[in-house]
Symmetry: C2
Subunit: 325 residues, 2 copies
């Protein structure tokens, strides 16, 4: 039995669980080492094909990262560790930068020092890198100008440029994404869809036929992909992505937050008043972001398969089991 070795950073976050599930469902024999600065509550006792091992560590410590790479010798690295909230990055820009860019720099530098050129690393970036765009720019293709306008976006752009230098200059085997918003059951409620879903479920559980929820600018349009489609893309990119290349991971469809709220309210059969909280409106924000997924479809054969309505329904079910009144 050939067993593939995956190192997953940011293992205690939202996406790693779904990546492990993907491998298990597809009967891929894998040994996974998860690392994260936070504790990990995930359990994988019922898995048959995938073995998982977790270690808590400070990813800002170069020595720790280097030791893990030298000991584990991964075939693949899925780099999910990130300070991934745009909103919070405005409040703590230094932490955002260090926990995106400096962590990533430690990782690629350790690969370079250990001369691990066969290990394939997926550097997860963000649609936020495109920054302020106009309707004529849409859908955003990978060759579109980047223009980061938040601390989070700057950190991601820095990571991407470091990726290019380490791939082209040092020969490290790095594939990059610009991942658009992803959503799914279990995502923390600091992220917008999860926050809205939670509020709607709370309204529903409070009885009556609806009420008020609090939101920022609900006219903004985003391109949402289900996390289960996202991890499928990450797997395919680790396997077949071209070294030094960037791939959008997105649905190609834009939906406003207002429409997302309407879909979920209809699914819950409630009426909703949206209260705009200026505190939730960011200093600089993009109005519309929609990506092109042509490149990843054509070159890698990925396709998103879960419709938005299904994702939203699953997210509501998640919050229905979490929220108790």
């Amino acid at each position: 039995m050939v067993e593939e070795k995956y190192l997953i950073t940011g293992f205690s976050g939202f996406v790693s669980r779904y990546f492990c599930d993907y491998l298990e469902k597809n009967k891929i024999n894998a040994l996974i080492k998860g690392i994260d600065a936070k504790d990990c509550a995930l359990r994988f006792d019922d898995f048959k094909h995938v073995r998982v091992n977790f270690e808590k560590m400070d990813l800002l410590s170069f020595d720790s990262i280097e030791r893990v790479l030298a000991e584990f010798k991964p075939d693949y690295i899925l780099h999910l560790a990130s300070y991934s909230s745009v909103a919070l990055s405005w409040k703590t820009p230094v932490q955002s930068f260090q926990n995106n860019t400096n962590i990533f720099l430690n990782l690629v530098e350790a690969l370079r020092k250990l001369n691990m050129k066969n290990t394939r690393l997926l550097s997860v970036g963000s649609s936020e890198e495109y920054g302020d765009v106009t309707d004529g720019d849409l859908p955003l293709r990978e060759d579109h100008k980047i223009n980061p306008i938040s601390p989070y976006a700057v950190a991601r752009v820095s990571q991407e440029y470091l990726s290019r230098v380490y791939a082209d200059g040092y020969g490290i085997n790095i594939i990059m994404t610009r991942s658009f918003n992803h959503i799914g059951p279990g995502q923390k409620s600091i992220f917008v869809i999860s926050s809205l879903a939670r509020q709607l479920v709370e309204l529903k559980k409070a009885g009556g036929n609806g009420g008020k929820i609090v939101a920022g600018d609900v006219s903004i349009v985003r391109d949402f992909t289900d996390v289960r489609d996202v991890v499928h893309a990450y797997y395919l990119l680790l396997k077949n992505g071209k070294k030094g290349q960037i791939y959008n991971v997105c649905s190609g469809r834009g939906v406003s937050l207002k429409d997302v709220i309407a879909i979920m309210a209809a699914q819950l059969n409630i009426n909703v008043d949206i209260h705009i909280d200026d505190e939730l409106i960011r200093p600089s924000d993009n109005k519309i972001i929609i990506g092109s997924n042509e490149k990843i479809k054509k070159e890698i054969g990925w396709n998103n398969s879960i419709p938005l309505e299904q994702s939203l329904s699953d997210i509501l079910s998640y919050w229905e089991s979490e929220v108790t009144h």
Copy 2:
């Protein structure tokens, strides 16, 4: 007497001395606080208009930077601190990144936390940010696509994007440069012109009518500006630059290293054989870089006044007094 207060980071480096000289020569009453991680050997005892005070400190310590800003309350900050060698950045990319980008992040974050929006900060960037360019792109204008291809260039681009976010998102008063190669007496011989000048002076002093010098790719073309013109630009930008704007600082003229060597050899009246050392050729390097200085000329009224031949002659004189055989 109104006294302007300048904080200068990277005070022990090559440029700060010339900036102080500029203020003194122009009879600008100024109090300067220089900070650097390294000791500073500069003396200013004969100055009449400019008072200088130096403090050695770790610029990677946020607390130290914050304390200095709170105590000194500068009107202007000239941010020269940098790990500025492209060649060395390939050998120690992490140090290059931290000592460019992370130091800068500390500085702007301290300004933000202290709400110092009247302090004007000049963020010195680099022509290396433009990266790989073709003849048709020349001379490079500020709106040209950036494309960093060395660890140093990535660090500078990250700094520039951070500048934009802190200026546009937080209202910090930042003006940015993309400074092309600058040269002058006193520059360390890890930089190419200084290294070549030193070797030529050593040849001259060894007697005979010339000999062999060691260089990397001498066909590369760069845009050199005398450091005395550069500090003039920095002063004008601190005074009159527009917040959030980027300005090339360059001569607009390109010269190959081969031609630079020929000019200096003629000035010394020696013959030179150039020995190419492959070790000195970098993994990725730009062949030709020439900038456009239209923007800074038009908007700020700067002009470079010292011809290349004069700069080279002064650099040779410097090494003639330094090199002893």
